[in-house]
Amino acid sequence: MARAGSDFRTSFAHRISSLLFNRAKLRLGLLLAAPITWLVLIYVFALVALLVTAFWTVDSFTGAVHMEWSLNNIQTVLTSSLYRAVTLRTVGIACLVTIADLILAFPIAFFMAKIAGPRSRRLLVIAILMPLWASYLVKAYAWRAVLSHDGLLQWLLAPIGGQTPGYGLTAVILTQGYLWLPYVILPIFTGLEKVQNSLLEASSDLGAKNWQTIRRVVLPLLVPSIVAASIFSFSLTLGDYITVNIVGGASQMLGNLVYTNVGAANNLPMAAAVALIPVILMFGYLAAVRRTGALESL
């Protein structure tokens, strides 16, 4: 009896297997069913809902969300000088942080990929990765200590007549540049590893100086990696409000406006409208760079 049962079970499993074996589309569907359901039901749904909520209003007495269509929030976001100023400031910081990180990342990535031996390359990858995963808060907090008026930077700069920038926008740029640097180094390093050494040798055989080889051979091949790296630093800066709280003094970025609208003001529709700014900026950026193939190197 037990034998018959197990026979039945194996033959049943066998039938399912052979059924699936001949139906690639069914197999694909089964593989994708759970992850796609999760991502669409939770994430895409939430993003669409966010878009819709931006057009709703809040009852100023009860704080309840009214599902009535209104363009007031969008209008406020587009016309208010506060939102415009904060958006420009945030984008400006994101650009500066991205440029600074790219400039800092290139030499170290190049050294890792093309100059260091395999052993020291591996150690360097670990040395870059370790602080990447050290808590984000810890690193922002570390800069709070470094930049304070009794901190390391003041102590280092005082003898040469300088002083710490203190807490403010400069501190935000320094800290965010520091926070996202590993995210920028790694894609550029991976991109450089893919650039074949024979191309570099061919370039120098044809008489190019090192600088010319970097500018005319390496950098053009590296565009997808540079774009991928900039997606990270740009997106991370646009969405960050905690660094500003920790080292930014009284300055505000887009994230702070979203946060205060959710928390203190309890106005989710307004927060949703503000949050659409980074979404639109990021989608615009992603759409613009799609053709570079950067999305595949993320």
Binding site: A13, A24, L31, L32, A34, P35, I36, W38, I42, Y43, V44, F45, A46, A49, L50, P107, F110, F111, I115, L129, M130, W133, A134, S135, Y136, L137, V138, K139, A142, W143, A145, S148, D150, G151, L152, W155, Y178, L181, P182, L200, S203, S204, N210, I231, L236, L238, G239, D240, Y241, I242, I246, G255, V262, L268, A271, A272, A275, P278, V279, E296
Partner: protein
């Protein structure tokens, strides 16, 4: 491209400089965790182990660690399952909408954290009418952790020969048997690496967490943020910071070793 000694050393010096800037702030935190001055003035006027002792005796801190571990374990488990499934689908099949699925996996991490945070907050509270709980944090974390597992499994599957799966079917193994005996052993270390990264990502996350955690839910990053600006607690935060840096280096080292082995295997 040949490098003269001097250009090599220029690149080497720049690399050393960047590494110095990367590690100096972390070193400051380490020293400050022993700084006898409550306001952490630099250079420290003296040293003490008081902060380490009070960190060890802080109940709120230990509860926060427990919460973070639960969240990270649960979201890693979900991410491992979903990430493996979607990576197997994308690496083995070419189909319409493939790049859209790829984008969908990357999106929760590619979009600014505050957007993911408020979208999920709004989705849970306004649209579904749910209370924010520990569960909502887990769901949110799992969503953005899928990509780390996905990336690792995709990279591995692109290196192993699909012939092995065919050979297994030819020898009469069913799909599940093939997965269990052929595919899974090939993926084991990639899953380990992806899982470690997912755990680290979840353990450290603060922005999405603040938007999806109920009022009673305090993960470790939330605890740190709440205590950072309290003058009495700030030195204790240094201690946690040091411990976190040290602990987080272990999984990274392991994950790197695992994917490093991977590269060696591929060459060999």
């Amino acid at each position: 491209m040949r490098f003269s000694r001097s250009s090599k050393s220029v690149f080497g010096l720049l690399t050393a400089g960047v590494l110095l800037v990367i590690y100096a702030p972390l070193a400051v935190v380490l020293v400050n965790s022993f700084n006898s001055n409550r306001n952490m003035i630099w250079p420290p006027p003296g040293f003490t182990t008081d902060w380490w002792v009070s960190a060890f005796h802080s109940n709120g801190l230990w509860e926060a660690v427990g919460t973070s571990v639960i969240v990270a374990l649960a979201s890693t488990a979900i991410a491992l399952t979903l990430g493996t499934l979607v990576a197997m689908a994308l690496s083995r099949y070419r189909f319409f909408g493939r790049s859209t699925v790829n984008l969908l996996v990357v999106l929760p991490i590619a979009l600014p954290g505050i957007v993911t945070g408020i979208a999920l907050n709004n989705g849970f509270r306004t649209i579904l009418g749910l209370q924010l709980t520990l569960g909502t944090v887990i769901v949110a974390h799992a969503t953005f952790c899928i990509v780390t597992v996905f990336n690792n499994v995709m990279a591995r599957l692109s290196r192993v020969s699909p012939n092995l799966v065919d050979a297994s079917s030819d020898l009469g193994a069913g799909l599940w048997t093939t997965f269990r005996l052929v595919t899974f052993p090939q993926l084991r270390s990639a899953l380990m690496a992806g899982g470690l990264l997912a755990f680290g990502l979840s353990f450290d996350e603060i922005i999405v967490t603040t938007f999806t955690a109920g009022s009673g839910v305090t993960t470790l990053p939330i605890w740190i943020l709440n205590n950072m600006f309290r003058p009495g607690q700030a030195p204790v935060v240094n201690v946690i910071a040091v411990v976190l840096v040290v602990i987080s280096s272990v999984p990274i080292y392991l994950a790197q070793r695992l994917s490093g082995d991977d590269a060696d295997n591929a060459k060999g």
